[in-house]
Symmetry: C2
Subunit: 766 residues, 2 copies
């Protein structure tokens, strides 16, 4: 299974020509490269800001279209309820299925890699494993278009996973683009030529994706540091910081232009919770969360609960995935397409049934018509400038209830997912002076919501449509938190009668616990939840909760993303510390390949093609005297990758007539620095696609086939990493992981050496 993946080599190639170029490089060129890196990062930010704005707008439009229609059908007709119910159900279902069909179609018929959240794929990519087609423009469009329709169709899905993927695409795309398309083709961004540079841009892109999806610039950056990049470096951190900041600023700015263009100069930021996913004009910043010291163990317990539930989710989802692999395989496009529609229909049916069967509650007193002292009673519960009428339609919709009542279940079930999450976090928030009991959700509603959403989320994740996991997981968790809070409230009511606990703090804590239990991230989701909900006061409880969720969850399963990476069989390299004991027990020479296929520095093109066609190794050692039997030591002049060899043949680089007298300079035949750079440009690693050997061979004329020779000496990697045959595998593992290698060569137990250097030697020269 692992053969579907190709590794990247993050060790920059040190071939003679490359070195010649580097030695002749001027300081200005280094600065220029640096400058381009920063500029591209800022551009990634701007682009992602735009993308987020567009996708958000589309989601809004689709949501208001679908729910607007359904609402009109539901509320519009008071008489003949049963018939109208059926009609409303069928028509809305139809719309739902149409939207789901678009989302599913984009995945099944346009780009299968657009399915799911994309985080496992991106994580694998950043770990150094290539998945074909992951970073194509088509994938970007299918993913981001698809996620708008997934959410619009009411699937239990969020947009953040797809945004991570989208960000990675934009980052990688801009990097390759900067490197080879458009007017840029002057001299400059010749720089970004290898996998390593691209990796950094992809990482920056993912950070920006999270940042704009959540409006959480720091959380976005941390997401990438914690979950994304296996290869962390601080210059990337800084550029990512710029990108996330620019991205969020751009999307803020576009939103303001959209809604507030007339009063641009006077629009204050910061007075409302206008950062984050949930723009809460209806609740002010003030004192909405509080906690007591004795709640700390309770929060920890909620964390553990979140860990259990997360592990349960992962394990159930593994079963669902196994079932799916059997009955709805990825290559059966039509079944996969139908499944999306079926799941959307199921989701909508559940929602509708709950809504239709809902008990009716009286509208809270302060919101009723004719109730005058609104200002006094609600105190801080202001709802901006909305009138009571508007509040009632937006938050206490009547649906199938009589006049003056609202549909209790419908309040959470018959709204977009992100809206119901927001309600769970904020509805009924009245500051510290006591809860408004009339605003509380019914306990049974919370339980039903929790169960329904948990089941639907488990089924939905892995369906053939772009679906993120963050928002569903947060919503499920906040319901869980509210349930726990209610229980604590009644228990604490007996003991400490005058203590008022904060249900909304429990909702936030629960949300964090659930997300932590499912994903097993720590510091980044603490920040994400904090930035998203504005609950900076809760930072300590949040950290503790998430920590417990991770600790407990890790006992039962891997995180959902790692699990899916495992299921796909990707050769993912964990942090060496977490790699487990097996590496300590084995030696390198027990796992290495001993029967080496080598090539010579100069050989007939025909022979080379024969070697390339006879196997599918990714790289070949170059030596004058190949070993005669397995395991025999031979002199390693260098190594060269299949990809580079194929490109050399395609472009006829290094071809000569086989005359042993001809010097390399003649063979490569460039004279100016410009020619040299052009030559390197043809061989650059990105875009990462290599022609197939058969095609290449076919492109050769018969004359070339017969008489041409090729000289690889000046283009091979001269200094591949080497280790000892008798070293433990864990050492090799550490080298692979830390340096981001693709191949590691093995010397005999006692290699020859000629010298030694220390860190002071390297520094003194700088």
């Amino acid at each position: 299974r692992m053969t579907a993946f190709e590794s990247h080599d993050y060790d920059p190639i040190d071939c003679d020509i490359e070195e010649e170029q580097l030695r002749s490089r001027k300081r200005a060129e280094y600065q220029n490269e640096e400058w381009w890196k920063w500029t591209l990062s800022a551009i990634i930010g701007v682009v992602m800001g735009f993308v987020a704005f567009v996708v958000d707008g589309l989601v809004d439009k689709l949501n208001s279209f679908r729910f607007g229609m359904a609402m009109r059908l539901v509320v519009g007709d008071g008489e003949n309820q049963d018939a109208s119910k059926f009609y409303a159900y069928i028509s809305s279902l139809f719309v739902t299925c149409c939207l789901a069909a678009v989302a599913g179609g984009l995945v099944s018929y346009v780009e299968p890699l657009a399915a799911g959240s994309g985080i496992p794929e991106l994580k694998t990519y950043l770990n150094g494993v290539h998945l074909k087609g992951l970073l194509r423009l088509k994938t970007l469009l299918a993913k981001l278009g698809g996620v708008a329709f997934s959410i619009g169709a009411g699937l239990i899905a969020g947009k953040e996973g797809p945004f991570v993927h989208g960000g990675g695409l934009v980052g990688g795309g801009l990097c390759s683009f900067g490197s080879h398309s458009l007017g840029f083709k002057t001299r400059r961004p010749n720089h970004f030529r290898n996998d390593r540079d691209k990796r950094d841009f992809v990482a920056i892109g993912t950070a920006t994706g999270v940042a704009v999806a959540f409006g959480a610039p720091i959380g976005g950056m941390l997401f990438t540091v914690e979950e994304g990049t296996s290869f962390y470096n601080s210059s990337m951190l800084w550029r990512g910081f710029l990108a996330t900041c620019v991205g969020v600023l751009t999307s803020h700015w576009l939103e303001q232009l959209d809604f507030d263009a007339t009063d641009f100069a006077r629009a204050k930021f910061g007075t409302h919770r206008d950062f984050g996913l949930y723009t809460d004009d209806e609740a002010n910043y003030s004192k909405q969360y509080w906690w007591y010291f004795w709640e700390v163990p309770i929060f920890a317990m909620i964390g553990c609960l979140g860990g259990y539930i997360g592990a349960l989710f992962v394990n159930l989802n593994v079963r669902v995935t196994a079932w799916r692999a059997k009955y709805i395989p990825v290559n059966d496009k039509f079944r996969r397409f139908l499944e999306v529609i079926a799941v959307a229909a199921l989701t909508f049916t559940v929602m509708f049934v709950f809504m239709a069967a809902s008990p009716c509650l009286e509208i809270p007193a302060p919101l009723r018509d004719g109730h005058t002292n609104l200002a006094n009673e609600l105190d801080r519960f202001e709802y901006g400038e909305a009138s009571k009428e508007e509040i009632r339609t937006d938050f206490f919709s009547k649906m199938y209830c009589p006049e003056g009542y609202y549909s209790s279940y419908g309040q959470l079930f018959f709204v977009p997912l992100s809206q119901s999450f927001k309600f769970l976090l904020h509805l009924g928030e009245v500051g510290e002076n006591g809860q408004a009991h009339e605003f509380l959700f019914r306990f049974d509603l919370l339980v039903f919501y929790f169960l329904a959403m948990f089941s639907l989320m488990t089924v939905t994740y892995g369906v053939g449509a772009p679906t993120g996991l963050f928002v569903p997981s947060l919503a499920v968790g906040s319901a869980m938190g509210q349930i726990c809070g209610r229980i604590v409230n009644s228990v604490s009511g007996w003991i400490l009668t005058d203590v008022q606990i904060d249900l909304h703090a429990y909702a936030v804590i629960g949300a964090a616990a659930s997300l932590g239990g499912a994903t097993r991230m720590t510091i980044s989701i603490t920040v994400l939840v904090m930035e998203t909900t504005g609950s900076m006061q809760l930072i300590i409880p949040l950290m503790l909760t998430i920590f417990c969720a991770k600790a407990v969850g890790d006992r039962f399963s891997h995180g959902i993303y790692d699990t899916h990476i495992k299921i796909r069989g990707a050769p993912f390299l964990e942090e060496p510390e977490l790699a487990g004991p097996a590496g300590d027990k084995l030696r390198v020479n027990e796992v290495m390949a001993k029967t080496m296929i080598t090539i010579k520095p100069r050989m007939r093109v025909r022979d080379l093609i024969g070697i390339l066609a006879s196997n599918d190794h990714g790289a070949f050692p170059v030596t004058e005297n190949p070993p005669t039997k397995p395991g025999e030591p031979f002199e390693l002049h260098g190594t060269i990758t299949r990809n580079r060899l194929l490109k050399m043949i395609t472009h006829r680089i290094g071809f000569f007539d086989g005359n042993p007298e001809s010097r390399p300079a003649d063979v490569y035949g460039y004279t100016t620095a410009k020619d040299r750079d052009d030559l390197l440009d043809k061989l650059k690693q990105i875009p990462f696609k290599s022609p197939h050997v058969a095609e290449v061979a076919a492109s050769l004329s018969s004359v070339e086939m017969d008489s041409a020779w090729i000289d690889v000496s000046r283009l091979m990697q001269r200094h591949p990493f080497i280790t000892h045959a008798d070293a433990r595998v864990s050492r090799a593992y550490r080298i692979f992981r830390t340096m981001g290698l693709r191949h590691l060569y093995v010397t005999p137990d006692k290699p020859l050496v000629v010298g030694v250097m220390t860190r002071k030697d390297v520094i003194q020269e700088n």
Copy 2:
């Protein structure tokens, strides 16, 4: 100069005995080690929480003692002002000098390494360079005791740098401690035996130090990720997360016990800004910061200004340091001691003069006696439940002013530094409904404060007392921010008459800009400032500002910490990306040592001691056939460090009679696993101190000297890192930096190899 430093080797030693142990290790032992790591991290948190509580308490006591006395002398006597002024000045000066003498004495006469902020030293340590005595208990006491007295004596200093150092000490100490003292000496934490483990614990300790100093758990963790650890790994991130969380929770808890023990169950957290350095009961969370979109470029400009000022600070401080190195050298204890007292006296004099020469302003109307409609006019400016009288004494002290007036300059100059920073951030905060003009600071006060504090900070940093830089830099910056805000306000007043800008937002932005300009950190100080001031609404402007500060500052100088690392001449390895072009132009064989001093696997002890005494290399290659001339290749059997050789001789490990027949098993003479572990325990890398060769030689009997042989074969590092002689130095640099090496061996250009492996080969075995 670099010889004062010794490098660490973060590459775990792979000797035969170590490998034997690892191979026989059971899964339970791995888990056990894991468990100990987590436990120790939590303990670090608890300890640092206690430490923070104690130091904070001491600072408070000293501050209130000194200012209380001064205030009594100043305010107490209305008549005969001039004489009383002089008396007040002299007596307070005396107290100040006494306190400064304690701080200076602790550094000069107890532990010179306790001077300064400690961040450069810790940063160097975490980069892999050892500084003798940095992590001793004595240093901890001198540092944390000293910083309380520095701050108590009114030096322009903060506690956070010293807390970073303190945290590192606690982390490193607990790790070694867990590894060799106390009852722990059972079998378990035999684990933490090498530099690498200790490094991780030190890193976790520094994170916890920042976290408890600021009450900012995430900022603390990020500080270490961004500034501290050159070697990031995610398992350390998670453990650090636990430690910071536990640390802040512990200190919260202790504070609550201290102040609120009677009402423990009912004390709400989160309703006031009770996280962070500045507990602001007097301002509520609500809406105190806001910004407009058109301010974004202004904030960016403030960032640039911060960058300039930071660079100016660094450059001036470099001159001061150079001057100091000449006239007050570190080893002249007495001068250094006197300097601290002189600087403290100077600081106090400046403060006192400003206070005494201050213009008097009328107490703001709402605070005057007899002014009744307090509630209406001040609106949100509530000051908790304090009475007007208390507010006046605490915030509008009369000092040398007539009754009914307050000392305008004294308000900022004659209070502890952290208090004046808090005033700059919050005093006069009245929500969004307009500024209370009576509460504004005079413009000239802001300018004077800025200039005075900037100069004093420049002089103070580097003095022979523990002094942190964060709070001074933040205070200077917030004055700068307020100045900018005032200017913007008057300009914008002409154009947009009805727009009210937020001066306090400018103060926060300015503080961040100044800190960013001085330290050049980015993401971590964004989070630190945000957590400390509770200004989550400002996150985007903060990021942008700090980014500009870094970008501009980097054009003129390094950050202050890096500058001091440079001044000390530490062999600090930057991120490879930032290492500069020199490494591209040179080859390894141009910088390596070619004349190798080697040892044989078995040799006479006398010869070995001769070799050890003849040079001070840190490690020796082991070979049977030493090279006869420089640069000649020889077979590398392994390498062994001087430290380990000395320990072997000290403990007579590997000694035998020179009989070539004797097998290694006899030589080492252990039979049980227990014996083996004891043997390894004697050789462990931490605590990091090695006996001197002369001492060791002296300890040998003459019989041993004459006839004993030593066999190092089973204790040498079998698999040191190797690279190619013709590789670029930048490659060697990358290997050094990424793997944390001390020595790198060099093979000929074309080494022999026997095989190859790929990442799939390592994974399949796991």
